[in-house]
Amino acid sequence: MEKILNLLRNNARLSNRELAVMLGITEEQAAQQVKALEKAGIIKGYLTVINEAKIENAPVFAMIELKVVPMKELGFQDIANRVIALEAVDSVYLMAGDYDLAVFVKGKTMQEVATFVAKRLATLDSVLSTNTHFILNKYKEDGIVLDDGSTQDIRSTLKSE
């Protein structure tokens, strides 16, 4: 199970047949294991890592630090539920440290993100403060280096250095 996860973590497009061959199991076993991981909620989806900077009208990304007042009984769950329901929000993490929630959002323009923070996030009950950081450049995403130049095989560059 762990081996299948590690392979899919790095390349979600591997077929059941390829997984089976690489792990020395049958194709049926590979299919079953993937199904079981999906059913157990361990595999939650299959995404594509996109270097957004290369596409036209690339979106704007921001990370917003949220300080909140935890609710009695519910703790942070209630506010987290309200934040994750917002469509512009990509990721939400509960943090240890100076603030409580790290919220990653995506928008068409900086203005759109600013409006979103001011009108939708800051106004939520129990939000004490927001601190917005716009992302200037992404170097590495989910383990993948985004700049094509720095992914060159050093072995071949050394031969012509």
Partner: protein, 389 residues
């Protein structure tokens, strides 16, 4: 200008097929599967040990045979992993890569007129260095049908009264073949009472898949006539550090040392400190890299066989050596055509001696995505060949 005179033996080195081929493969957009070195960077803790030695100013000469602390670690790991016991003080010498280990061994053991049996397809540099040492390489042909192993029959047929040395290289570059302890016992039976020494180049010893690495030095009566050569390049992804070693009897090591101490003085000090760290704390790194190679190996073999390039399952190293004769092309023509039409570089089998004709060497020391793309192009190439027939 008066002419410069060169060593006459240089002219006897046959022109390398490999160099001819590499001259073709210079386009930087080519997808290469030709490299014979790990794609992993040297593990960070090993690099750090080298940095620490530099910071501490440990950049002087070491003993000619290498730091005793390194030789002790080599002794310990060979005992722990391969049940080979060598005295760090008298039976181990550290060299500048396994390459110098080979060169020093050939120079030390050979005289003009001697014959050296090499197992072909063979690592490219054996024959040239044997020729430079004044001796004659005698190729023994191994085949895919028996996993490219040396058989006792083939060995006996090659032995003459001039034979002084047998060179073994298992796990094999380029075939990925391995020899088991039982296989070696049969070879040892032939050699035990003959004055033929054995060089066992075990540089891929840590990269075997599902089988335990064996050494002919483990066979009774063979230890003191065998030179076990190994190094750090493949096991710890340390090719550029140039660090290797020879283990053998005190007499053989003393003789190699006479040559090595004059030719090289001592191995690189910085690399030796990296080597100590690798041997002490590198087991997990090997485990990780071997696991990755193994998965790629399975994928490569499965797809090569499926596309009509039959391939004996390699049990060691990081090469597949498929039979390409179904294409109707020679090794060189196959590689040139694949290069020009699909921009994929693999090495023609005859670069490893005449026995490699009809094969190509496919290295899987590349990322999975790189290998998959190359396999897709190779498959398209094979489909075009089939449709033309």
């Amino acid at each position: 200008m008066s002419p410069i005179h060169f060593n006459e033996r240089l002219a006897k080195i046959p022109e390398g097929v490999l160099h001819k081929y590499l001259d073709l493969a210079t386009d930087p957009t080519i997808l290469s599967l030709s490299v014979g070195e790990p794609d992993f960077p040297t593990p960070f803790h090993i690099r750090q040990a080298a940095i620490d030695s530099i910071t501490a100013g440990k950049t002087f000469y070491t003993p000619s045979r290498g730091l005793l602390s390194l030789r002790k670690e080599i002794s310990a790991i060979l005992s722990r992993k391969h049940q080979l016991d060598y005295d760090p003080a008298t039976e181990i010498i550290v060299t500048i890569g396994a390459s110098e280990a080979l060169e020093a061994s050939f120079i030390t053991l050979l005289n003009p007129g001697d014959e050296v049996i090499i197992i072909t397809p063979a690592y490219i540099t054996y024959a040239p260095i044997i020729i430079m040492a004044g001796a004659t390489p005698v190729p023994v042909v191994t085949t895919a049908a028996n996993g490219f192993k040396l058989t006792p029959e083939a060995l006996e047929a090659a032995i003459t009264d001039k034979t002084r040395l047998l060179v073994l290289n298992y796990p094999s570059n380029p075939t990925g073949g391995v020899m088991t302890h039982e296989d070696y016992e049969k070879i040892a039976t032939i050699l035990r009472d003959k004055d033929i020494a054995v060089i066992s180049d075990e540089i891929y010893s840590e990269l075997t898949y599902g089988v335990k690495h064996a050494s002919i030095a483990q066979c009774e009566g063979m230890r003191d006539k065998t030179l076990v050569i190994n190094g750090f390049s493949k096991a710890y992804a340390m090719t550029g550090w140039r660090l290797g070693f020879v283990c053998s009897s005190p007499e053989i090591i003393r003789n190699i040392s006479t040559y090595h101490s004059n030719a090289m003085l001592c191995p690189q000090t910085i690399s030796q400190f990296a080597g100590i760290e690798a041997l002490k704390n590198g087991d997990e790194d090997i485990e990780h890299m071997r696991g990755e190679y193994d998965m790629r190996r399975r994928l490569v073999i499965d797809r090569l066989n499926a596309m009509g390039l039959p391939c004996a399952t390699p049990l060691g190293a990081f090469y597949a050596f498929p039979d390409i004769r179904s294409s109707g092309l020679s090794s060189m023509d196959f590689c040139s055509a694949l290069l020009s039409s699909k921009k994929v570089a693999v090495i023609p089998g005859n670069a490893f001696g005449a026995a490699g004709e009809g094969y190509v060497r496919f290295s899987y020391s590349y990322s999975l995505a790189h290998i998959q793309e190359a396999l897709d192009r190779l498959e398209a190439f094979m489909n075009e060949i089939k449709s033309k027939k």
